[in-house]
């Protein structure tokens, strides 16, 4: 995806930089592809390679094994990895601020609210923390958990509902499967995790190894995140740019769907001021309190702490909390240069 670019002499030396995606390229990665396509990484001196993983749990493994400079993963996944002894890996920025995982139902399922889940079949993809979401949602809605049957359908969440074997599904993303179903006039009911009792969290995060973040590594990471932030700003101005960039990476993507998904996702690509009325929102916010100052990629430590506490209460984490924080904002654009580690 080379555009007309500044001539070679103007470009800084290119350093290779491999980013392991969480999944095949899709709308969630539009900002990265937009940055790549616009030559932002090149200008930052990075020869960025965006690599699809063997499976969604692989990015952290391959990162830990030193096969990538950065991995895109999920908050619960990172916390699990750290719980299994990988304390060296750390989240260095949020790609998506909010949960994307949602409870989706088709009209035939007769589920409009979490309360309607009583006596229904719910399809999940067999990921333990998502099963825990369901538990929490049911408890929150005062639904007897024994009346709800959870069926693990692997990658067939939508198909399970279409074939009427499941009344609802938990695990697909509202910005992708949800948007797809809406565009197909299937009239889905979409309930977001943070709206039905699950503590909010950053769905997609950038994860790095601390040991890679020596002076040069940190500099590279800063340049990457800064260029990526710029890519997302491009995306905000012109979502189509992201679509074109994505389609260059994979012609099999449906342009209409990607554009709709990007537009739907835009709000959660950027940090937003917490709504004081929101039950799931953190009660306090760490400085800078001025929301305008929140850099792109910002991770709210209180949000993380809440979520980690929830995981612990669900016995998803077993080890005592670690000394080292699972996140740091110090490599975000405009951050960390003055104060070394804001999150401590």
């Amino acid at each position: 995806g080379e555009k007309a670019e500044p001539t070679g002499s103007e470009l800084p030396r290119q350093e290779p930089f491999t980013v392991m995606l969480d999944y095949f390229p899709n709308a969630d990665h539009a900002g990265l592809y937009a940055a790549l396509d616009a030559g932002l990484y090149q200008r930052a001196g990075l020869d960025v390679k965006l690599q699809a993983p063997p499976d969604p749990s692989a990015p952290l493994k391959l990162l830990a094994a030193g096969k990538a400079d950065l991995a895109i993963s999920y908050t619960p996944e990172l916390l699990l990895a750290r719980d299994s002894g990988q304390e060296d890996i750390v989240s260095v920025g949020a790609l998506v601020q909010k949960p994307l995982t949602s409870l989706i139902a088709l009209p035939s399922g007769g589920v409009k609210t979490a309360k309607d889940l009583a006596g229904k079949n719910v399809a999940t993809s067999g990921i333990p923390y998502q099963s825990a979401y369901l538990k929490t949602i049911l408890a929150n809605a005062d639904v007897d958990p024994t009346s709800v049957k959870e069926i693990n359908v692997g990658f067939n969440l939508t198909q399970a509902m279409l074939s009427k074997k499941a009344d609802a599904s938990l695990g697909s993303f509202w910005n992708y499967e949800g948007v797809d179903l809406q565009r197909r006039d299937e009239d889905p009911t979409i309930l977001r995790m943070e709206d039905i009792g699950v503590p909010t969290y950053n769905e997609l995060i950038f994860v790095a190894r601390r040991q890679d973040l020596d002076e040069a590594g940190a500099a590279r990471l800063r340049r990457f995140l800064s260029a990526t932030a710029a890519g997302h700003r491009l995306l905000k101005q012109n979502p189509k740019a992201g679509v074109d960039a994505l389609l260059k990476a994979d012609k099999g993507l449906d342009a209409g769907l990607q554009e709709a998904a990007i537009k739907a996702t835009l709000p959660v690509f950027f940090p937003v001021p917490p709504d004081p009325e929101d039950r799931a929102a953190p009660t306090t916010i760490t400085p800078p309190a001025n929301v305008k100052d929140l850099p792109w990629g910002w991770q709210e430590p209180i949000v993380w702490a809440n979520y980690e506490r929830w995981m612990r209460s669900e016995n998803l984490l077993t080890r005592p909390p670690s000394e080292a924080s699972p996140l740091t904002n110090e490599f975000l654009p405009g951050e960390g240069l003055a104060e070394s580690s804001r999150d401590r």
Binding site: D55, P56, S57, L60, K61, L62, A64, A65, G66, E77, L80, A81, S84, G85, Q86, A123, S125, G126, I127, P128, Y129, E150, I151, N152, V153, G154, F155, N156, Q159, A160, L162, S163, K165, L316
Partner: protein
Amino acid sequence: MIPPLIVLAVLIGGWELICQAGWVDPLLLPAPSAVATSLWEDRAILGPDLAVTTQEVVFGLLAALVLGIVLAVAMHLVPMLDRALRPLVVGSQAVPIPVLAPLIVFALGFGLAPKIVVVALICFFPVVVNVADGLRDVDPDARRVLNALGTSRWQRLRFLEAPSALPAGFTGLRIAAAVAVIGAVLAETAGSTAGLGHLIITANAQLASARVFAATALLVFEAVALYVLFSALERRVVSWSPRTVS
């Protein structure tokens, strides 16, 4: 018994060394000692899942065996059927599970049945091909003897072709036995609430690599056990063949 154990010991020893030396991240490749620990500590989880997978494997394999033999015999008896069905049989092996799974789920739901179907679908193919080939590899002189006796098609099958096909059939059966296990895992990844495949997915999602490998070790063990079982059966049944005599 000894050589495989030596190889196993060397392999596991080397693997342990690599892990101890820290060349590979334990998330990616846990040390055998960690896997062994998980095998022991997680036995309460692994045991029932193994039982579930074994059940799927056994029923799927039986279904594949029956289906494969019936189909091979039918195709052998009616050459037209062979020409008509063989492309379908071959093509059936090229349909990815993710494509098939929604349909199977649609038709059969989430119980044991869809797993048996998937295992059988994967296993019946080597059985069909080997049995069909075996049915044709008949000593021409024996064929002449039986033909001259005016035997019925059925009698030729029973007295001549079926026994001739036994060695090849067992080859196919052993292949089927070895891949049945992975068939069950594939079936479970397409939707299940128990079984080693299910366990692997959940453990993988939790980055519990040691448990993933513990489950894999059980799968490997089960495949080898089934293969050995069918080899032993073969030695008893096909005792006349040079392959078992020599």
